[in-house]
Symmetry: C2
Subunit: 483 residues, 2 copies
């Protein structure tokens, strides 16, 4: 393990992260909301810690090895998650415990979007802005993680996207080095954010809300500046804008990159993952619509469809925005949506869950096993688009799925052990590991009422989901620490 | 498809099955309980239908092909399941609808053991005897299915047990032809049943109850002649007898066969599946004991352990016997036990669930994927005991697991759609697909209160679980029906 190299990177990271305290500081001064000192102190502390960490090892120039990558990625999210909680603990309003502050920060950075704060509408604007910004920063990290880092580490079959990416990406070679990849993707990310801000603003949000919700939309985060989430605006237009930008953000950003650099929208249509992603969300939207209409939840079919579509996309992409009436919907709809969040966004997007491509591979492998029963001696390759998937990738995806289910089960049991009822436990773990946000029962809109151990378990669940299980679990094996 | 050959087999099967109406008929006459006509009429109808089916094609002598095996197995369980409901529909007491009669019959034959009858203690003895016998007959079918038929069909990795069985079974060649295998296994099955009957009887049960509960113990069925299940007897001795015989019945019967024919109990100890099976149940028993003791559910540690052990083994092997106080236990215990039932018994036993060997392979593959992240270029074979598992078997086990989860999810959603609450739906599907029996919430002890569509969905779930998913699903693919 190259501890000095890791420390150096973390030092730089913290110094960069400290700068993100300045925009909310400016917001605080602009609105004169009295919260500026929290951001100022946090800025100084994080900058100092970062600088000291860096200076201690700045003369050492050892290269990171591949294996160190796991550690860097895990440290990235945990250290920033904890550092990000500083303004919450330092602020007077809201007055938050350490547990709550860390929960809110990790929920923000992992773009989960579950909150322990009640009464968002009364908070200082700078705190609200900071929460939205946390999600946006988290989203930036996720894209680079998902497009460039995880494929390199070979996590859960994502080596699929390593050297030769499937289908349309094959002959266009994504800018190779991580930093350059990051820059290219961040331009797209920034572009989407600006477009989304303008659309929300034009549709009637205040500029402050428009920026904030664009942040949490493009990051598929789900934080809102209002307790009632998107439902606060009571506007079908705003809901449809959210649908469009969530759909875009749930797509592999590498695919966006290729489509843009080739100026060819056909790139999307030939991508198997993209097509399956749209098909799943459309199917769920229709099922939800039919149930909402036939149960008389909405007597107007058009209204049932826009509500159904919004909720299917919001939960299916793992954003977790809600509208006011969602909690009154039939339980069947709630559970269909919760299960859809397990599929989640495309690989390389800001969405959570298992990821569409893995789901597609699981289905194909399941069907292959049935076919093999009928034709025991046939050689049946698994294909995605034009590309044949190697057994190694298929095995990695299986391993991912099994560990996902196993992790889910253990955390579910752990949560039940803290005394939560079974539906709360189940949905809270699902909403956390899928980086979705809102659950059912006691955690339908807010996690404030949970006990502290439960909140820490859910912090772990959010990190586990965001780091695609393996990255975090590998650090817990003795083999990783052996020379 | 060799329809005539399949029809011929089913004809013979029905004629044989009709004979099983005679023991309850004799019981009815012995106790003079007034239910004898139900069994007499059922006997005649089933015999006639079987005979006619057989005579129609008795001059044709076409051989079955491997592919027909799936159809025969599925027909076996569905046709007998429906035929077995005849005495319930014909009886005056209990007065049952067609749905309820089929549910009870399929629950019996698949050794699920969930019941829609309330007031068992007041039923005619012949009906009670018939229910217990259904489970015992189902268990006989399952052993042959699991040891001889499924490995031949290559279902879900069970080809592992086909030509060369792993570890200790390798050099002893199980009697090759199915009929001879069946005979050998049935002697063991019968021997266990007699021993269990004597033990229960000696421990204080009436001979009638002893036979009935031995039937449902060795079949890991869980039907009882009392509403209070094993709790009726309020005897730690009886509970411990149940534990011993359930543990024995949850073991691969092929392993019993080898141990007996070699007169060498060491055969068990070197079997990886057997060891893992005991370890899991012991671990769960200890967890349950600790929770029962620390929550003050039982203030005596010894009592907490015997209660914990009984329930861990009863649910873990998927028997589903309960004691009276079980429903008052903490929710955490209930959910731990419900999840344990997903692991289930060993392959080749009368237990349900995913099966211990598959679970073991899933864990080994999950761990291998983690190791591969650290050593990307290493060749890491998966071993069970001495044997290296081929990638083909690993893939088949993954396919099984994925389809298990997918089937579970779809049936859970379907049940929720019929209007059941989420915990009832979840636990009912789990208890049915795992062939466990009792669920939680509204189906904690009895399924009588469910709506008819829900009961049919659960019948499907029980068959799906018993036929190890693939056998049933393969019939639903167009490829199966293509020439
Ligand atoms: K989210
Ligand atoms: K059972």
């Amino acid at each position: 393990m190259q501890f000095s190299a890791i420390q150096r990177i973390l030092g730089i990271l913290l110094m960069v992260f400290s700068v993100t305290m300045l925009p909310p500081l400016l917001v605080s001064i602009w609105y004169d909301d009295g919260a500026y000192s929290a951001f100022l102190i946090a800025f100084i502390i994080i900058l100092m810690v970062g600088a000291v960490s860096w200076i201690m090892v700045s003369d050492q120039r050892r290269e990171l090895r591949l294996r160190d990558g796991f550690m860097v990625v895990v440290m990235f999210w945990t250290v920033l998650g904890i550092s990000g909680s500083l303004p919450f603990t330092l602020a007077v309003d809201p007055h938050m415990s350490l547990t709550d502050a860390v929960f809110e920060s990790i929920s923000g950075l992992t773009t989960t979007g579950s909150t322990v704060i009640m009464g968002l509408d009364e908070l200082p604007p700078s705190i609200l802005f900071y929460r939205q910004q946390l999600q946006w920063l988290g989203g930036m990290g996720i894209i680079v993680l998902a497009v460039a880092v995880l494929p390199m580490l070979g996590i859960g079959g994502m080596q699929l996207y390593r050297a030769e990416t499937p289908g349309p990406m094959k002959d266009s070679k994504l800018t190779p080095r991580i930093t350059e990849t990051a820059k290219a993707l961040w331009y797209i990310y920034l572009g989407l954010t600006i477009a989304c801000t303008l659309a929300y603003w034009a549709a009637g949000m205040s500029l402050f809300d428009a920026i904030g919700h664009a942040f949490s939309t493009i990051a598929i985060g789900g934080f809102s500046t209002h307790d009632a989430s998107i439902g606060f605006f009571d506007s079908t237009l705003i809901e449809m804008i959210a649908v469009v930008f969530l759909l875009l953000s749930g797509v592999n950003f590498a695919l966006h990159f290729i489509a843009i650099s080739r100026r060819n929208p056909k790139v999307y249509l030939v991508d198997s993952e993209f097509r399956f992603y749209l098909a799943v969300l459309l199917f769920v939207a229709i099922v939800v619509t039919v149930v909402l209409y036939t149960t008389g939840t909405y007597s107007d079919l058009g209204e049932a469809f826009t509500k159904g579509l919004f909720q299917a996309v919001s939960i299916g992409t793992t954003a977790g925005f809600t509208t006011a009436d969602y909690s009154l919907w039939p339980g069947f709809v709630a559970i269909v949506l919760l299960f859809t969040s397990f599929i989640g966004g495309c690989a390389g997007s800001t969405g959570g869950g298992i990821k569409v491509i893995r789901f597609l591979l699981l289905i194909k492998q399941g069907l292959r096993e049935i076919t093999r029963l009928i034709h025991p001696s046939a050689q049946i390759p698994i294909r995605v688009g034009q590309k044949t998937i190697t057994p190694r990738v298929v095995e990695a995806v299986w391993g991912f799925f099994a560990l996902y289910v196993a992790s889910f089960t253990f955390m579910y049991l752990a949560l039940a052990l803290t005394g939560l009822d079974l539906m709360t436990s189940f949905s809270a773990v699902a909403a956390s590991i899928n980086n979705l946000g809102p659950g059912l029962a006691s955690v339908g809109t807010n996690y404030a009422g949970l006990n502290d151990p439960a909140k820490w378990i859910l912090c772990f669940a959010m990190l586990l989901g965001r780091l695609e299980i393996f990255t975090l679990l590998v650090l817990l094996t003795p083999a990783y620490w052996r020379k």
